[in-house]
């Protein structure tokens, strides 16, 4: 499967959240789908994630969140904006409550994948919406 077409995606936890299972599973399935995955792991600050996004010139950032520290994701979005990375797709995954999903999408997170999201849906969404996606280029 080469749907990912080498599109570059960060998969990262944020803050002190130590829950890595979800992020690891998604990193693996994205790799299998042909994405180039930059797996940052734990203890990432919003700043370190943005620094990696710039350094690696990624097309998407995926935050795996399992620890209710949503204000850090909001801070990430502020830094994305401040660093002119608005065209980089930012998505989140995890057990994020509905009210929180609304707040995150209002801050610019493109999509929040809740537990049980199908792997096909995750792959499809990234394929179609990541920064240098052929789908976006074609519709421009």
């Amino acid at each position: 499967m080469t749907k990912g077409n080498g599109l570059k995606v960060i998969v990262s936890m944020i803050g002190l959240d130590g829950h890595t299972t979800g992020g690891e599973v998604v990193a693996m399935l994205l790799r299998d789908a042909g994405f180039e995955v930059v797996y940052l792991g734990v203890n990432q600050t919003p700043q370190s994630i943005v620094d990696a996004a710039i350094q690696e010139d990624v097309d998407a950032i995926g935050i795996s969140s399992h620890a209710a520290n949503y204000s850090l994701i909001e801070e990430l979005m502020d830094l994305v904006r401040a660093n002119d990375l608005d065209d980089v797709l930012v998505v989140c995954g995890g057990n994020i409550p509905k009210q929180q999903i609304q707040k995150l999408t209002a801050r610019g997170v493109a999509k929040v994948f809740t537990p049980g999201a199908a792997s096909d849906d995750i792959v499809e969404y990234l394929v179609n919406n990541a920064r240098r996606s052929p789908a976006i280029a074609m519709s421009a």
Binding site: G15, V25, L72, G116, A118, S119
Partner: protein, 543 residues
């Protein structure tokens, strides 16, 4: 749809005597209270001792958590308390650390000082109930120090307190990542364990399969992993710390995750009991029967509590609580319906506690010990998971034991692959989960449940309070105690740091400070995140 156990044994539609051909009651089961303890440790089961019914608490400030503990006591939870730490305390940094300010009190108790423990325990008895404090390995020494310090303050002999405040160094690998190196966690764990044994304090350490399974491990792996950890850690207490095995064996306890597949979960625990009994006798040459009895508490599986249609989780939790009660356990904390969302709301906590009460008094399962013994299916399942677990145990032994297996990445790979397998099983509908990949309804059609919230302001308040409070301490005393601890920490692996840690904690040194100076003595940075410097100026004493 798969009709097999999570470790791949294909389940038949009917079981009969041929499925347990060499069944020998005395050899394979024994009566409850008799070796090999497959049926449990008490002849009369729950009639003599009901399992401790507990719910976990910990959200917001220590005073908030204290209120919850009092509420739980009112709800009938008096046999034990269970408090989980926040990520800040788990990482042994203080709430006023730059990276901690936004996460103090989030998903747990901000237990960074004795002051926090005193506030947590205001009006709550230290004796007469089991005290359980959870949250990664390195803070083990702090949690133990808090208990000893508060007991002394209240004029209680620390040996009258019981429960569990210690956690094994292997937690780092099972999704309970703290930021400390394994060798430090191991050293601190050995110190704490040796301390409780030599001082006759009935505090135990979790050495558990729960986090391993909640991170995706299967039943056979879970048994092999927990037994390997027991083997390694008890071995070190005997060989490196000079303890008798029969004393060391009283340190660990197991917390097993109970999921939805009812009979398999029951078989898992029965096999675990039998395997430990044999390991204790054959490998460790146990002289006492108690050493052959693995203390097992049950945690109903948080992983199975779905985000979709959370009310369904009440049914799941009930099934799991029933399984936990039937198999026999010393304590039970069940997950709550809103586990996928936040710390338990009052409603969710009440539901889960009531579920335990209903199982305990309305179902009759507590009248009989190990009621499924003799079932062809359950005995076959017990044998199957045991056989599979022995294979994995041997692989770990061949690698050199649990620590070697972790160093070689074997355990991590096993866990990662199993987690991916479980994900794909659901993804491909080989395993069905109602509301998730089967009979899915749009979220708008679902019922709302109350969700516990922590506002960012709460974390900042905790951080600010600690910042201000730090300055009000007897600083010469704090400094002196930390200097002594720093000196002790340079005296080699065998030198037990607990006495110095307790003295530092009594002077109100904080988690960041205590672990920070220990780290420095070992050539590490004071701050695991390398953001702040040690605020104290020590000179390394000549060893």
């Amino acid at each position: 749809m798969k009709r097999e156990t999570d470790y791949g044994y294909k389940i038949k539609s009917v079981y009969s005597p041929e499925d347990i051909p060499d069944f020998d009651y005395q050899k394979d089961l024994g009566d409850p209270g008799s070796f090999p303890y497959t049926r449990g440790y008490h002849a009369e089961g729950y009639r003599t001792r009901m399992w401790t019914q507990r719910m976990t608490a910990g959200l917001g400030s220590s005073t908030d958590a204290n209120k919850v503990l009092k509420k739980y006591r009112d709800m009938g939870q008096r046999g034990g308390m269970c408090v989980i730490s926040d990520r800040v305390f788990s990482d042994c940094i203080d709430p006023d650390h730059p990276q901690a300010r936004r996460e103090a009190g989030v998903l747990g108790w901000p237990g960074c000082s004795l002051l926090e423990f005193e506030e947590l325990m205001e009006g709550i008895p230290l004796t007469g109930q089991s005290i359980t404090l959870l949250g990664s390995s390195a803070p083990t020494v702090l949690r133990l120090a808090y208990v000893v310090a508060l007991a002394q303050k209240r004029g209680i002999d620390p040996s009258e307190v019981h429960g569990s405040v210690m956690e094994s160094p292997f937690e780092n690998y099972f999704g309970q990542t703290d930021v400390q190196p394994f060798d430090l966690n191991l050293k601190l764990w050995l110190d704490a364990s040796e301390y409780v044994v030599r001082n006759k304090i009935r505090m135990r350490s979790s050495v558990i399969s729960q986090h391993f399974q909640e991170s995706g491990g299967n039943n056979a792996q879970a048994i092999a992993v927990v037994l390997s950890m027991y083997k390694e850690l008890c071995g070190k207490l005997v060989n490196e710390r000079g303890l008798d095995f029969d004393d060391a064996a009283l340190v660990p306890y197991e917390l097993v995750s109970i999921g939805n597949r009812f009979f398999e979960e029951i078989a898992k625990v029965r096999a675990m009991r039998r395997m430990w009994a044999r390991m204790a006798k054959e490998h460790f040459k146990a002289k006492k029967e108690k050493s052959c009895q693995m203390l097992i508490a049950v945690h109903t599986s948080g992983r199975t509590m779905t985000y979709q249609q959370p009310l369904n989780n009440i049914a799941r939790c009930a099934i799991q609580t029933l399984a936990g009660a039937i198999v026999g356990c010393t304590a039970l904390d069940n997950a709550t319906m809103d586990n996928a969302y936040a710390e338990p709301s009052a409603l969710a906590a009440r539901m889960s506690l009531n579920t335990q009460h209903i199982v305990a008094v309305e179902t009759g399962v507590t009248d009989v010990v190990d009621p499924l013994a003799g079932s062809y299916f359950v005995e076959a399942l017990t044998n199957q998971v045991e056989e599979e677990a022995y294979k994995i145990l041997k692989e770990i032994d061949d690698l050199g034991g649990m620590i070697a297996a972790v160093e070689k990445g074997y355990i991590q790979t096993m866990l990662r692959e199993e987690a991916a397998k479980k994900f794909h099983e659901v993804d491909r509908k080989e395993r069905l989960v109602v509301g998730v990949n089967h009979l899915v309804i749009p979220p708008e059609e679902d019922f709302e449940i109350p969700i516990q919230e922590v506002h960012e302001g709460d974390s900042e308040a905790i951080a600010k309070r600690m910042e201000e409070w730090k300055k009000t301490r007897d600083m010469p005393q704090v400094t002196e105690r930390l200097r002594e601890l720093h000196a002790d920490a340079g005296r080699g692996e065998r030198f037990n740091l607990m006495p110095a840690i307790i003295e530092a904690v009594k002077a109100y040194a904080t988690a960041g400070e205590v672990i920070g100076v220990i780290r420095m003595a070992r050539g590490l940075s004071y701050d695991p995140f390398k953001v702040i410097d040690c605020p104290y100026d020590f000179e390394l004493e000549a060893a």
